[in-house]
Amino acid sequence: MSNNEMKKKSGVKQLPKIENPEQFFNLPRTEEGQKEAKKSKYWRSLEVLNNPESKEVLDAKKVEFPFGEDQAINLDSMSSVNRRKFLALMTASGVFATTACTDYQDKGKIINYTTKPESVQPGVANYYASTLNITGNSWGILIKTREGRPIKLEGNPEHPVNQGKISNLAHSTIVNLYDPSRLKAPQIKGKKGLKLVPFEKTTWEDADKAIVKALNDAVNSGKEIAILSEQVLSPSYASLLNDFIAKYPTAKVYGFNTFNNDVKNAAWQETYNTTDLFPSIQLDKADVILSLENDFLGVDGDTIENTRMFVSRKDINNVYGFNKMYCVEGAMTLTGAKADYRFRLSPEMQFEFVAGLINEVIKKGALTADSSAFSSYSLDKFIKVNGFHAQKIGYLVDDLIKSKGKSIVLGGRHLPKATHIAINYLNHILGNTELYRQDSIPVSYGEFSKNGDFTNLVKDMNAGKVGVLINIDTNPVFNMPADLNFADAIQKVNTVVTLSEQENESTGYSTYLLPTNHTLESWGDAHARSNVMSLQQPVISPLYDTREKEAMLLTWINGGSEYSFDIYYNYVANKWKNDIYPKFNSAVNFETFWNNTLHDGVVTMKSSTEAIYEFNTSSLSGLKPTKKENYTVVFTESPTIGDGKYANNGFLQETPHPITKVTWDNTANISINTARKLDLKFQDMLELNLNGKTIKLPVVVQPGMADDLVQIDLGYGRTAAGDVGNEVGFDVNQFMTSNGISPWIFTGAKVSKAEGTYKIASTQEHHQMDELVGEAILGDKAYKISEFHIDRHIIQETELDTYKKDNDVIARHKHATKSIMANHEYTGIKWAMAIDMNKCTGCNACITSCNVESNIPVVGKEEVLHGREMQWMRMDRYYSGDENNPKVSIQPMMCQHCDNAPCENVCPVVATTHSPDGINQMVYNRCVGTRYCANNCPYKVRRFNFYDFRDNLAKGYYYAQSMQQMYNPEVTIRSRGVMEKCDFCTSRIADAKSNATKDGREFKGSDVVTACQESCPANAIYFGDSNDPNSEVSKLRKHDLGYHVLEILDVKPNVTYIAKLNNVIPEIDNSEGHNSAH
């Protein structure tokens, strides 16, 4: 009986026998080859690593949408239809029906301008340069407006700090402008007893009058006027605050940012006896970087500038210029994920490590430096106790010594002061002061630029010494350390004036609740660096009855009756004319200077102050390590929603956390060992007890965490954020007290397992590309298909040194595939993309940029749990190697626009086809929603509209009228029942093409920039014409590091990935079970 007959009889599903499998699959056949292949297995989650054949894992891989397809429709998530609305709709449709009968040809009216503004051309976007002050950074932005409506933010390429790029948070601030729950008119606290109406509407005039009276009363009775404001970056705002103090002498300004550089700055000022702030660093000049808890690619400092400088030394065309990054951290961060060598260390132990390192470096490098302050610390002992790999630490020490003056040690802003001083000293003795920038340092407005003394403020408030509290766009009740009891204190203040865009936990305590303009509706300026000043201009008149916060202060300075809409504009212009313009020694007159600055958004001056770094050795005395007790807890800034201010922004809530992949929640992240010790697993509840307070949190077992450490993101658990952000995640601000190691690190916590489980919407196992089901026979051996996964080469990487010796190390594994069909000839432009994984840090900016550009809906936690997130791009995060401290490989994944696209063949209505320029087109108006294409897509990048998602979240929150103004008019809004996916920004291509036709020039691949490419802070994404031999893309396609994901399937994808080169030494890594390319 032949093989075939046997199969027929037994009915077992088996793949046909393949005679010569090596050629076909390039499968490693030798024993060693098999071993090698096993070793290089990549995994996405611990479940996949440990129980690859468990039901859950197989289900997640088998079915794209695991459950819930037959679930009932949740009426609560839709916009409500009440009786009146129903009657109105019925009447309206009746009227429409009757009128339509009279003239069914009617096509409506054309509403034209009466007088067309000169600069507006319907159908053409205008860009305005402005400034965005966000997360403690000041970035230049370009605001894209269509017919007067801002629809997208981009970085301003001329701004020297961010150079055309902004973070994912900055991208999504556009949503806040159109947020339906913005405050729309001034309000006054309702009369007592009226619980249902906490606030009543009032007029600006009445409010102004009453507030000025309260301010004068406070001054006359000698009571304090406390102003709470975010830390100040703007020169005009700073001078306005000074004017305010001059007018009302009892006023005092308290800066407040939940996450700030205050500790780092204080350490810097003590180390060098200066009043300057911690300088910015020339990361692009650093050959060796040692990051100690410093997530400089994720949330710490100016991440955009850091990323650009850091990846400029990851240029595959200059492999001899690669930098090397060591990272020692407790929680797994984006920086740790990008590091060449990563060590796990609980943050409170950092001091001992640095001290030991200082000793070792002085000893080994024979440096002439005083090590007496650190003589009692030994690095050898430390690495033994903490289980560090001695050889790797040896490399670190050697590298630091070898690259004296060209290396940098970075400390995370949340570390305690002593550690920062020690780090400054280490940099000092290594001569790394060379890398501190002197021409461009952060600017301080003294007390306004750091957090105020809140302990005293609260004491005064409780004692009734504060007459008026003006809260400018901060949320102290939610964000301030819990032991201050701000909520109690604020009730003891007679007049609380809150200036805010939206309601929050603090607004409820106000006497006057005054709505402020959004950034895009306001004038302003910023002093990003000593040599960079920028202007902020409004691009739309206020949507509601709101005012600029500065304009309100100005009005009160002027006595309360002199408001006009341009009052703050005049103030800024005067400030620039009198104070700032003279500093520039400009050759042109002020009007020209002002207009030029407004046009460019930014102006720079030459400044190079040779700073002399004289180390204040007395700062070294008395430095003490911190001791660990029980568990340590570290509270971190969420890379997606920041400190909670933007919690009501669905775009941000739904962006998966870059490492844990969790959406719509914060979790307690613990290490694998800790989880074993406490018998916890993913989605279990953990009870955290710190300083007598307890909370139950869901657990994420995060590979790479230090043991006995709990990491929790702040900013979640808001109760008054709005319909989207309320009750999302857990509020851990109650643990933020003043008795920690630093404001963000606490030790002595007790952690135990709690009852119950919790559903975490993690996208970790969604859209997996490797299959684990079934068997295949190759040659004479049966393989589990799981072993093919090894061969799929989804992630390819190698060591830098291996590549230097052997340029073919990746290219060798290219698969020769044969097609039964003739290949289509592409003449003319053929679009293609390339992504350089050496540069990509996984920061998510591209995802958010794509969301805004392509009108992608927010689906909500419930739907993410069903695997229905709609983002066209996703970041696949793979682990490999040691499960306790794995290597992380991040891969952006979107439609690959395959030449032989499997999705196209199966569409019964030809709604997805191929264009002559190589784009896999998706025609929404043709799609009937069979989902065959998604089923057949090997990359799992197609997204289906199971609902009209805009009307399926928080009572149709994003269905509101105001939100409609945000949509990009060049991209169709997809409704229920339609498939969608990345379209290579086809609207941008059409736009560029029509511009070329208009200008009568030939259309070139370089004319198009996609949204993800435009926003990538690392410039890792390339897009262009692969038929043009001179284009960047076609060069990368042919590069010996270029590879295509799943090319074995012969789908001929058009996205090339550039294999990552890890700057590690191959031998020791192999001994650790590390992956090499195969």
């Binding site: 034209n112 159908g123 086809t986």
Partner: protein
């Protein structure tokens, strides 16, 4: 009902009724096709503006008013300001101009009735076509001769593709300068 009557109804009446209904539906469908496509649609406009007078007899260029046509995908109906460029002085006592003046002074948009429309999911681009030298009349008919504008060509996908596929035959006057139009989906739908 007796058996024969039922038999008659089922065997004769029902088929005849069905055939009549189907035939009349098919007939109406095909006969009314041009009308449903908007052919001959000629609505009353709020101001009795004559293209024949302005574009025909006085030979004012289309783009004097429809300024967007070579810059963007929208041709743009001119703002009232454009009319007032001349009509502040010209024929100020005509009743139609008085209407215009009223809109202008009130700052209200003139509620022109829309005649030509492609569906929302098609992104037609005027500038590409006009900049290639295609005459407006190819789609809009000879507006220069219309007192009151009406639709003369149907704006269906079939009509677009007919020209895109046979560009050289349809527009012999510019045949040397043009290629065939794109036929892929993304050219119009995105």
């Amino acid at each position: 009902m007796n058996k024969r009557a039922l038999d008659y109804a089922l065997k004769i009446r029902l088929p005849i009724t069905v055939v009549v209904i189907l035939c009349s539906f098919a007939l109406t469908f095909y006969v009314s096709r041009p009308e449903r496509d908007g052919l001959g649609y000629q609505p009353e406009q709020p101001i009795n503006y004559s293209h024949k007078l302005h574009a025909g007899e006085m030979n004012i260029d289309c783009q004097y008013c429809h300024t967007g046509v070579e810059k963007t995908r929208h041709a743009m109906v001119p703002p009232a300001e454009t009319c007032m460029n001349c009509h502040k002085v010209v024929k100020t006592d005509s009743p139609e101009i008085k209407k215009l003046r009223e809109y202008w002074e009130k700052g209200e948009p003139i509620p022109w009735k829309r005649i030509h429309k492609v569906p929302d999911y098609a992104y037609f681009n005027h500038s590409v076509h006009v900049n290639k030298g295609i005459d407006c009349a190819h789609c809009h008919g000879d507006v220069r001769k219309m007192d009151k504008v009406e639709q003369v060509h149907s704006f269906t996908m079939g009509n677009c593709l007919d020209c895109h596929r046979n560009a050289h035959e349809r527009m012999p006057e510019i045949a040397e300068n043009i290629n065939k139009g794109p036929e892929n989906c993304n050219a119009c739908h995105r």
